[in-house]
């Protein structure tokens, strides 16, 4: 463990990253950027998992991270395909222009 880096630091970093990701999803309109922000949120939680695993000396947190990465990879495949499809039909990936389901 790197000296001077406590669990608190890790959680703060994780929280900051998660908040950045959340804000990115909520504020940006570019689908790719939103997508990257989601990845950021996933990795913030991965960081928290790993931090807890280390501080508690349990391996299950790290195992979960592998699952999350695997799920994230699958999500990338589906998400990018969706974005490509959206771009093909509207020549843009601005999510505000994809509002056909407006009630």
């Amino acid at each position: 463990m790197i000296p001077g880096v406590s669990m608190t630091h890790i959680l703060i970093l994780s929280g900051v990253l998660f908040t950045l990701g959340t804000l990115g999803v909520l504020i940006r309109r570019n689908a790719i950027v939103m997508f990257m922000s989601i990845e950021l949120m996933l990795n913030a939680s991965n960081l928290a998992f790993v931090g807890f695993a280390r501080s508690m000396g349990a391996l299950s947190g790290q195992v979960f991270v592998f699952f999350v990465i695997a799920v994230a990879a699958a999500e990338v495949a589906v998400g990018l395909a969706l974005i490509v499809a959206v771009y093909r039909s509207r020549s843009s990936i601005d999510v505000d222009r994809v509002s056909d389901l407006k009630g």
Binding site: V25, L26, R29, D96, V98, D100, K102, G103
Partner: protein
């Protein structure tokens, strides 16, 4: 074979005719006329064989047997089982029914072949034989029933067949409805008699607690004087039943109209078998008649009066079959009178002998009618209303229809009572018994016998002698062998039938002794025989003097004036019933239809009360309840939903960010709830 084994075959007796009719219902159209005739006749023939086996069994074991088939009705005290009573009385009847019935079946094969063509509907041939077999089955059920109720089932069954066969050509007859009306009349009049039978049955059950003949008779015997009232009441109501079925005063009016049926029907049902059911039923109840006080006298009076009345009416008929119909009523009167004076064997003897010669007469009359009908077609005469039954268009058929003439003559002489034919012995047995018991009855019956000889002489002379009075009669031809052969057999039976109970040997009396107790042995009274033979010959000579010598333009008996008018109008009995009952009944029906039904029920109750209040109630339901309450309720519900949907729709912006915010806020709320609680 033991007697028991033979007795156990008895159910086949009824089963064979039923089998025949089922085969003819299913395959009748495919079998063709010959096949249908063979099936129907064979069914009755086999039943006759079974009847003979029962007779043989009775020779071994004279006490007879009761063959239990099934329990029928078991309600509390009432227990009725289906059982066949095989005793000398029922076997005598079943031999007669199946024997004479079988011959008539064979005859009908030939007769109906032409009849269905004359009437223009050959497809009805199988139906006729289905009804015929059904009749035989019902009649056998009637004679074998061991209780009042099982007998009643057969009693109604033969009534139904009679109705079906009288109106067999239901669309023919007067105004295209005459035959149907004749059937209806027979049915309704019989219903009055059946009502008497039912009341007798109810009294029997009420008083004796059982409906089985044997138990009732034993009970009545054991009670002695205590049963006199009940026995009198029961037998009086049974007499009403017998008067309906056997066409006695006051219910005889249906039988002449029943001649609307095809001639084999008249021979089988309305001469030989069904109409004798009343006599059989009374003889079956001989044990009660012996106890009863007034009934035997009433029975004797009714029988004798009917014999005389019907014989007098027969003198003035021109329809060949109606003469025979009134003759049948008259002869049934003889039998009923015999029952009344306690001469049960004589009644049964005359019943069997009468079945032979009256079946013969009817079938011969059918042969004559068809001969004339053939002649009518061959002569190609286009008379509009040609009636082949009318004796006035006949005459001189002696030479054209030789076989029919001879058998007709034998039948007529047997009926008239010329020795040694069957009717001589059977009628004289009744007359001899009557002289012993009641001279008044004797003289009335002798008078009827005189009239019988006169109208039969008249009929023979009008039909067979003299010159043909129409082209049809000139061209008449003999019937085919299938019709003549049964006639010859019946003629032989009419000649030799007297041997059944020949004086001295009395085989029938000794046979029936096993069933009917305390029978008198009839004596042969030479004086009685001599008087009736003399009178019969006198009457025939008188008939020849009146009808035999000159051509018949008008009936010479017309000269009797008012007496002729009376008998020509059948003593106004039919008119009296029309006036007393039928016309009143019809006006009551009219009143019920027009006033009670049309005006009261239809116009007032239905239209005014029910329809109007119903309309009012439905109006209120429609305008108030439905429109104001239910409709508005649901309209409001709809509007509410629509408004709510509008509000909620606004939430659906279509911007992913908004949804993401919602998800985020939701997440925050859920997590904070989990953390804080």
């Amino acid at each position: 074979m033991t007697a028991e084994a033979l007795f156990s075959l008895a159910p086949l007796l009824i089963l064979f005719p039923l089998l025949g009719l089922v085969v003819n219902i299913i395959a009748g159209r495919r079998l063709g006329e010959r096949g249908v005739g063979i099936v129907a006749s064979a069914a009755v023939g086999l039943a006759f064989v079974i009847a003979i086996l029962q007779f043989i069994a009775l020779r071994m074991d004279p006490s007879g047997a009761t063959i239990h088939i099934a329990d029928w009705i078991v309600i509390g005290q009432l227990e009725v089982e289906w059982a066949l009573q095989i005793d000398t009385l029922s076997v005598t009847m079943m031999l007669m029914v199946t024997g004479v019935g079988g011959l008539i079946h064979i005859y009908a094969v030939g007769y109906m072949h032409d009849d269905v063509r004359f009437q223009g509907d050959p497809s009805r041939f199988p139906r006729f034989f289905v009804y015929f077999n059904l009749f035989i089955a019902a009649m056998l059920l009637l004679v074998t029933g061991d209780s009042y109720l099982t007998m009643f089932v057969g009693w109604e069954g033969v009534g139904l067949c009679s109705y079906l066969l009288i109106s067999f050509w239901y669309e023919k007859g007067e105004d295209g409805i005459g035959n149907a009306l004749a059937g209806k009349k027979a049915f309704v009049v019989n219903r009055i008699g059946d009502f008497g039978f039912i009341i007798a049955m109810l009294i029997t059950f009420w008083f004796f607690g059982t409906l089985t003949f044997e138990e009732v008779f034993n009970e009545a015997e054991a009670m002695g004087a205590g049963a006199v009232g009940a026995a009198t009441a029961i037998t009086l109501f049974l007499l009403v039943g017998a008067a309906g079925k056997s066409a006695q005063i006051p219910l005889f009016v249906w039988l002449p109209d029943a001649m609307a049926g095809p001639t084999p029907v008249s021979a089988l049902i309305h001469a030989a078998t069904m109409v004798t059911a009343g006599i059989y039923m009374l003889v079956r109840n001989a044990a009660l008649l012996e106890i009863a006080t007034v009934t035997p006298d009433i029975i004797a009076i009714i029988g004798a009066a009917t014999a005389l009345l019907a014989a007098s009416i027969a003198v003035a008929r021109f329809d060949i079959k109606r003469v025979l119909a009134y003759s049948t009523i008259s002869q049934l009167g003889f039998m009923i009178a015999a029952v009344g004076i306690g001469a049960y064997v004589a009644a049964i003897f005359h019943l069997v002998a009468h079945a032979f010669f009256k079946a013969l007469l009817f079938l011969s009359a059918g042969s004559v009618i068809q001969g004339v009908e053939h002649g009518h077609h061959r002569a190609d005469s286009h008379e509009e209303h040609f009636n082949p039954n009318d004796m006035r268009v006949m005459g001189g058929l002696r030479t054209r229809m030789k076989a029919t003439f001879w058998v007709y003559l034998i039948g007529a002489l047997a009926l008239v009572g010329i020795p040694p034919l069957a009717g001589f012995f059977s009628k004289d047995e009744i007359l001899a018994d009557a002289l012993l018991v009641s001279p008044a009855v004797y003289w009335v019956l002798v008078g009827s016998a005189f009239l019988t000889a006169f109208y039969m002489g008249r009929q023979i002379l009008m039909v067979f002698f003299g010159k043909p009075r129409s082209k049809a009669a000139e061209a008449a031809e003999e019937s085919p062998a299938v019709m003549v052969a049964p006639l010859v057999v019946l003629a032989i039976l009419s000649v030799g039938g007297g041997l059944i109970n020949s004086p001295g040997l009395l085989p029938l009396t000794h046979f029936l002794e096993d069933t009917l107790e305390g029978l008198r042995e009839p004596e042969f009274v030479a004086a009685v025989a001599a008087i009736s033979t003399l009178l019969a010959v006198l009457a025939i000579v008188l008939a020849w003097l009146v009808y035999g010598r000159r051509p018949m333009a008008h009936d010479p008996v017309r000269r009797l004036g008012s007496l002729w008018t009376a008998i020509r109008h059948r003593w106004w009995v039919d008119g009296f019933y029309d006036w007393l009952i039928v016309s009143r009944y019809i006006s009551l029906s009219h009143w019920l239809a027009e006033v009670a039904d049309e005006q009261f029920l239809h116009d007032w109750v239905h239209d005014t009360v029910i329809a109007r209040s119903f309309v009012r109630a439905t109006n209120w339901l429609a305008s108030v309840l439905d429109l104001r309450l239910i409709d508005r309720g649901f309209d409001g519900l709809g509007a509410l939903t629509r408004r709510g949907a509008g509000g909620l729709g606004a939430l659906q912006t279509g911007y992913v960010r908004n949804y993401a915010v919602a998800v985020f806020i939701g997440m925050v709320l859920v997590v904070s709830y989990l953390l804080l609680s």
